[in-house]
């Protein structure tokens, strides 16, 4: 019997620029990049040098603090360049991809018929462990831990994101194998969140605790699912993983090959060709977007609420399955601060008439719609925070770097994306996600 996860607080953002539900094969990228900054707090140690020949699945780098946290090559090819920044920090590891891939053979394994420790060892030694993220802190999972549960959300409630019913439609078998492998990693349950209002093949997945999600964003956030089922306490560890990455793990068990296929959805009003593209993890943006987008627009690896701004000659982030392109909002708006003016811009506040049209779809751009100010208005953060967290108090504790207060107010239960809507609706235009990330970083160094 599935468990219902139903929330009331939050915000459903209806935005223009959705993708159509068709999948196309993207052009094969000439280069792909692995970006150590995609794995928060990971200090990379390179295994291979520039010019090295690689098969898909060959180890590229590992974490300075745990050699079981490994990143392997998504393609076969030649390591072209290790881009470094200040203090020789590795920014990008760029690999030139071959036309036809050679795969490292890891051998076939049925996780259900294999011992837990062997499954775990396989996942972490072959670089699949990097797909697992640890809560608290949202950092790569530590192979030494046994999490109390593993969470997968196959229902993204953020605006302009991929539907996993489309992404996973021809990967069901691998997805199931991946789930089977995950069950061997935890003593607890593997939770799978799905859309309550849409019955699909996802409802028939076995060996999971099914959560049927309903309500506005952030209903589908993993943080919400954890909070509604087994809330995090101090000292506990939970792992989370994206649905398509589960399928990658499954495929590696089923076929012995590391097939880093990433189905990327292109969304946003400034993108002209909006659909799903089959590409590869870390592919160059130009191979997916080509030049099919408007000028003066922003390319975001991820969704409009939590993604990262990237350049057109750059690469899609490791975990991203969305490329959003929206117009830049670098223009002045006369008397735009008057109440009830410019109702074509969405506002969760009642000082705009946009609330009268809950089903209207909005055009969005990147304008800040104001300037950053001191925190004055109270009560608005609570409106979009379904977790039992006092958002403003937690933000202030993070700003002050008060460890005891952060812990008391529930810092372990949140990651930056849980504060995305707080950031969106905030009158004072504060960067809530950045503040929470900094708070988490303080906790990592002080508490661990």
């Amino acid at each position: 019997m599935p468990t219902d996860v139903k929330i009331k607080k939050g915000l459903k953002l209806n935005l223009k620029g959705e993708a159509e539900n068709s999948i196309e094969q993207a052009q094969k990228p000439k280069t792909v990049a692995l970006r150590p900054s995609n794995f928060h707090s990971l200090v990379p140690k390179m295994v291979v040098k520039e010019g090295a020949r690689l098969k898909a699945g060959d180890e590229i780098l590992f974490s300075k603090y745990s050699d079981k946290t490994r990143v392997v090559s998504p393609v076969s090819g030649t390591l072209k360049e290790i881009k470094r920044g200040a203090k020789r920090k590795i920014l990008d590891v760029i690999i030139e991809a071959d036309d036809t891939f050679e795969y490292k053979d890891f051998g076939i394994m049925d996780p259900l018929k294999t011992d837990s420790s062997e499954v775990k060892n396989r996942i972490f030694s072959t670089g699949l462990g990097i797909f697992l993220n640890q809560r608290p802190y949202n950092i790569p999972a530590n192979a030494e831990d046994t999490p109390k549960a593993i969470y997968i959300s196959a229902y993204d409630t953020a605006p302009l994101t991929a539907s996993f019913e489309v992404v996973l439609q021809d990967k069901v078998e691998h997805f199931q194998t991946g789930i089977n492998a995950l069950t061997k990693l935890t003593g607890g349950k593997v939770y799978l969140g799905v859309d309550k209002n849409s019955i699909s093949f996802l409802n028939d997945i076995e060996n999971v605790e099914l959560l049927t999600i309903s309500g506005p964003h952030p209903a589908g956030n993993v943080g919400t699912l954890i909070h509604e089922t087994e809330p995090m306490n101090r000292g506990e560890r939970v792992w989370t993983i994206n649905p398509e990455d589960v399928a990658i793990i499954g495929e590696q068990f089923n076929t012995g090959k590391f097939n880093a296929e990433r189905t990327v959805v292109v969304t946003g009003t400034a993108a002209k060709n909006r659909k799903y593209f089959k590409s590869i993890i870390g592919a160059e943006v130009s191979s997916i977007l080509k030049n099919d987008y408007e000028e003066n627009s922003r390319i975001i690896s991820g969704n409009v609420l939590t993604g990262e701004k990237i350049e057109s000659d750059s690469f899609i982030n490791f975990f991203s399955n969305t490329l959003t392109v929206i117009p830049e909002g670098n223009e002045h708006r006369m008397f735009g601060w008057l109440p009830f003016k410019d109702n074509n811009i969405h506002s969760a506040s009642k000082t705009s008439l946009s609330w009268l049209f809950p089903n209207k779809k909005y055009d969005v751009n990147t304008n800040l719609n104001g300037e950053e100010r001191a925190l004055v208005v109270t009560g608005e953060m609570e409106e979009v925070m379904p977790l039992d967290i006092l958002p403003m108090q937690l933000i202030k504790a993070c700003m002050a770097g008060d460890i005891e207060k952060m812990e008391n107010l529930g810092i372990y239960e949140v990651v930056p994306e849980d504060f995305a809507l707080v950031e969106y609706t905030n009158t004072s235009k504060i960067e809530a996600q950045e503040i929470i990330r900094n708070g988490l970083d303080i906790m990592i160094t002080e508490v661990g």
Binding site: K350, T351, T378
Partner: protein, 390 residues
């Protein structure tokens, strides 16, 4: 529009970073952003943002104040002419009120915004919009005959001691507008209380006394106004506090736009009504009470500054309680203590000012206990867990 924009950019040129007048940038920006919402874009995180900003929020409060302000001007003129035995036209009355009140507003904004700009330049941050509301509130809660220099002095005290000393907008403990009024009240009591100050130029007229209703009750005099007059506000008092009707219109704007928290207003009214009922019941308990305690509880809600205070001052989000439960407690306590001070302390026939300032001070304490509740839940969950696994 483009040529205006170009002109402004041209004027701003010397203030851009790296140029000569760079440090005066916040002042120029403050003026510019009143014409145009700036072209600033998001950097990371949420790449899109809500249309609301602090300017819009503050302007909404100013809009909500307009009905009470216009009525206040009319009433100032009306009270002035009727004490002389004349019957003024609406326009004439407003004109007299405006003649008295507009200079007060000008002084309040000029002095207050001057200080705000100076602090913004000194501290290198943008000018916050909060003073747009504070600067209008201060004249609205003063007696109509107060000298302009006193307005200026009160504003200086409120901005310097009430706000900037604590770190500026968002950090102040007390409501700045009430700080200004409290300053004037204690520094110049003869201009802030008595029976000659509530009606414009009443001190020039010997025979007539323009006392407030609460003042008359405290002095055990007969009240000659009926409930309708008290509600519409055709009575003497501070400039904009008299009309419960116009204040209710403002409250409606604030509640519908969610700029003010309805919880504070509602719990405040409930608290005041409860205290009023309790005091009204004193005679049946064998206690005699006084003119104020025996004043009907519903009348307490519509005379004096209670309505204005609970709608426009208690709801100031910075100095109020910030948690949801805290707001209920905060509002109710303001209502209770306002009527308590009003009725039982003959030295202060109006209690709302002191009760809001008092609860401003206690708001962080109220919040502290609400927050502890949230923390305890978390600790309990942890200890339950440890018991289970042990």
């Amino acid at each position: 529009m483009n040529w205006i924009r170009q002109k402004i950019d041209q004027i701003k040129e010397p203030f851009e970073p790296g140029n000569k007048l760079e440090k005066y940038r916040p002042a120029v920006n403050a003026l510019d952003t009143f014409l145009f919402v700036p072209d600033h874009t998001t950097k990371k995180g949420a790449h899109i943002r809500d249309a609301v900003d602090l300017k819009r929020t503050m302007i909404t409060v100013v809009l909500a104040l307009i009905p009470a302000l216009i009525f206040g001007m009319w009433n100032a003129g009306y009270q002035h002419y009727t004490q002389l035995g004349e019957n003024p036209a609406i326009f004439e009355a407003i004109l007299h009120g405006a003649y008295k009140i507009v200079p007060m507003i000008v002084v309040s904004y000029a002095v207050g915004l001057g200080l705000e700009f100076a602090f913004a330049i000194m501290r290198g941050h943008e000018v916050n919009e909060g003073y747009l509301v504070t600067g209008l509130l201060i004249p609205m809660i003063m007696p109509v005959d107060i000298p302009l220099w006193m307005v200026a002095l009160s504003v200086i005290f409120a901005v310097l001691i009430g706000k900037e000393a604590f770190g500026g907008t968002g950090m102040n403990i007390l409501n700045p507008a009430l700080t200004a009024r409290a300053f004037a009240f204690f520094a110049y009591p003869t201009y802030m209380s008595g029976n000659k100050i509530w009606v414009s130029e009443a001190s020039n007229v010997d025979t007539i006394s323009g006392e407030t209703i609460l003042g008359s009750l405290a002095a055990n005099k007969e009240v000659t106004y009926n409930a309708a007059e008290m509600f519409t506000g055709v009575i003497p008092g501070s400039i904009s506090e008299t009309s419960t009707l116009c204040i209710a219109a403002g409250a409606l704007i604030l509640i519908l736009t969610k700029v003010a928290d309805w919880r504070i207003i509602l719990s405040g009214v409930i608290g005041a009504a409860a205290m009023g009922l309790l005091l009204n019941a004193l005679p049946s308990l064998g206690v005699e009470g006084n003119g104020l305690t025996n004043f009907a509880w519903y009348n307490h809600l519509i005379v004096g500054g209670f309505a204005f205070g609970i709608v426009f001052m208690a709801t100031d989000p910075v100095s109020a309680a910030q948690t949801m439960k805290g707001k209920w407690i905060y509002g109710a306590l303001i209502g209770l203590t306002a009527i308590l001070i009003r009725t039982l302390n003959p030295a202060y026939p109006e209690g709302i000012m002191l009760s809001i300032l008092l609860l401003n001070v206690f708001a962080p304490t109220i919040d502290h206990y609400v927050i502890q509740g949230n923390i305890k839940k978390r600790h309990k969950r942890l200890s339950m867990k440890t018991v289970k696994t042990a």
